[in-house]
């Protein structure tokens, strides 16, 4: 843009410097974790170095060869995947109803849904534990997936409703005139139109289910234990195993980074929940 260039290079520089400083602030703690994950425990505790002098991948090997470690990643992936699918599947028709129709108690219902997004997980930890124990779902992936629906379903409805309201209603009416049945219209015409909205909603469901620990830890013990809970058991006889802890931390960042890379072009609009 010529205007930006003409307005003086000093401002552009100030912005670049500001951005660089902020990114530095974000990345230094992550770099430090990466740095630690590539060192041996002796090096971590004995010498203070800004980069690993004796580069080692032993910490990562521990995680990839020990099933109590890598099964944590698989468990997390399973319940996050289940949760995302369930949330989107039930949220799609509901969001359509909210964006297209008025019905008895609609605004109250919408607010009630949102309050669940705002409910502190700490309030639900104990009752969830008892509820899922009593129906025999304790320590299963589906229990965590269902528990995470508490905050992900309202969020998915909210995001999808925002995107659906952006699609003109004339499209629905034209499709009906053309003889489309509702399911056919919804799958063939409407879903492709809000594909980016579905992507954004799925991204958010993934994100909040992936980062949540309190409920996931409360509802699991062995079989469905998430990776983030497995990280609390690095205390061994010789003290904390810092290197392995750091390596496990770095590996939890990887799936998130991959997902962000895929949605990078929708990030800005997505974070505004389709409501700009």
């Amino acid at each position: 843009m010529s205007t930006a260039v003409q307005s003086g290079s000093s401002r552009i520089n100030a912005r670049t410097v500001g951005m660089a400083l902020y990114l530095l602030f974000l990345l230094v703690p992550i770099y430090w974790l990466l740095n630690m994950s590539l060192k041996t425990n002796e090096e971590i505790l004995s010498t203070f170095s800004l980069w690993p002098h004796n580069l080692t991948f032993a910490n990562y090997m521990v995680i990839f060869t020990d099933s109590s470690w890598y099964s944590g990643y698989i468990n997390s992936m399973i319940y996050v995947g289940l949760n995302t699918v369930i949330s989107i599947a039930v949220a799609l028709p509901a969001a359509y109803a909210f964006s297209r129709y008025r019905f008895l108690g609609d605004s109250h219902l919408f607010f009630w849904l949102l309050t669940n997004r705002m409910a502190p997980p700490a309030v639900f930890a104990l009752p969830f534990f008892q509820l899922y124990s009593s129906v025999g779902l304790f320590d299963t992936h589906i229990a965590v997936a269902l528990a995470h629906c508490l905050f992900n379903v309202p969020l998915a409805v909210w995001i999808l409703e925002g995107f659906m309201s952006g699609v003109p209603k004339e499209i629905d009416e034209t499709a009906y005139i053309d003889g489309y049945s509702f399911p056919k219209f919804f799958i063939k015409i409407f879903t492709p139109l809000i594909a980016s909205g579905i992507g954004v909603a799925a991204f958010f469901c993934f994100m909040f289910s992936w980062v949540e620990l309190l409920l996931a830890r409360t509802l699991t013990s062995v079989d469905a234990k998430p990776i983030s809970a497995a990280m609390t058991r690095t205390v061994s006889a010789s003290g904390l195993d810092w290197g392995v802890l750091a390596a496990a931390g770095i590996l939890t960042i990887v799936p998130g980074a991959l997902v962000i890379y895929f949605v990078r072009n929708y990030i800005a609009k997505g974070f505004a929940l389709g409501r700009v």
Partner: protein
């Protein structure tokens, strides 16, 4: 958009209602049940009336945790909102660098919360952490496990690190919706940088800023994992926020009655505040003529 009135739409909402009822209403009923009963073990329960509510409402413990919680959420909003706006103005408007910055900025948002805690726990340690070691080298006696002020600074900086990007990304989305013509008009009028921000950019960001304030307030109000991992609520009780206190009471001491009463009060506070925010938000939307 004109919406048609049709009660059959309820059928489309039904799956969501059933699912959320199972995962929200049912557990909440359990909580209500506990909050009005007392037990002497053996699964025998006695009606306790409002005893737990009186006990919790008059306890120093809840008051202190509530005050700490409001201070924490207030500080978080006061830092993150202005900082987020400032950062969003620094993001390149388009091109490869724009995506590059956005991807890096979103990174902290997708790190599991206890890993965020672990990162800062390690980062702040004097013996093996960069931050702690730097502080020590500067001659500051920094120790977040012993000094309450340092513990507070650490969890606030951690939360700023973790969530400022969310505010910045929201604001950036708002900025992107401003047509170039607005800037050109301002250029012709000879508007200063401040005036452009005040009269063009800020009004356009209003809606997303409201979402940002809402999300940041709610999430900081129920924060649990990150401060728990870093400080465990200590030193003493200085960083014991509401959720940490509640989990201590419910799962640690298994004081079901008081914990349930605490939960209900906690939930009602959030409900009230959400209602205020929601009303403000929807009314604001109407005022804009949407």
């Amino acid at each position: 958009m004109e919406k048609t009135f049709n009660n059959k739409a309820w059928f489309m909402v039904l799956p969501v209602v059933l699912l959320v009822a199972f995962s929200a209403v049912l557990p909440l009923m359990t909580v209500v049940n506990y909050s009005v009963q007392d037990t002497f073990g053996n699964n025998q329960f006695f009606w306790a009336g409002l005893q737990w509510f009186e006990e919790v409402l008059t306890s120093e413990r809840l008051h202190d945790a509530l005050i700490r919680q409001f201070i924490f959420s207030g500080v978080i909003l006061a830092i993150q909102i202005p900082l987020g706006i400032a950062v969003s103005l620094c993001i390149p408007k388009r091109g490869v660098w724009s995506s590059f910055c956005l991807v890096l900025m979103a990174l902290p948002l997708l790190i599991p919360w206890n890993v965020v805690g672990t990162i800062w726990q390690i980062f702040g340690r004097v013996d093996i952490g960069l931050l702690g070691a730097t502080m020590a080298a500067l001659g500051i006696d920094y120790n977040y496990t012993q000094n309450a002020a340092h513990a507070w600074i650490t969890i606030v900086v951690m939360d700023v690190w973790h969530w400022t990007s969310l505010v910045a990304l929201l604001c950036f989305a708002g900025l992107q919706s401003i047509p170039d013509a607005y800037y050109q008009a301002a250029k012709i009028d000879g508007a200063s940088r401040w005036k452009i921000f005040r009269y063009i950019e800020l009004p356009k960001m209003n809606r997303v800023l409201l979402i940002a304030v809402l999300l940041r307030f709610m999430d900081s109000f129920m924060i649990y994992t990150e401060p728990f991992v870093v400080t465990g609520g200590g030193p003493g009780n200085s960083t014991t926020l509401l959720s940490i206190d509640l989990v201590k009471m419910a799962l640690g001491q298994f004081d079901l009655g008081p914990a349930a009463a605490f939960s209900i009060i906690y939930f009602l506070i959030i409900l009230l505040l959400s209602w205020v925010f929601y009303t403000v938000m929807t009314n604001y939307g109407k005022g804009e003529g949407r």
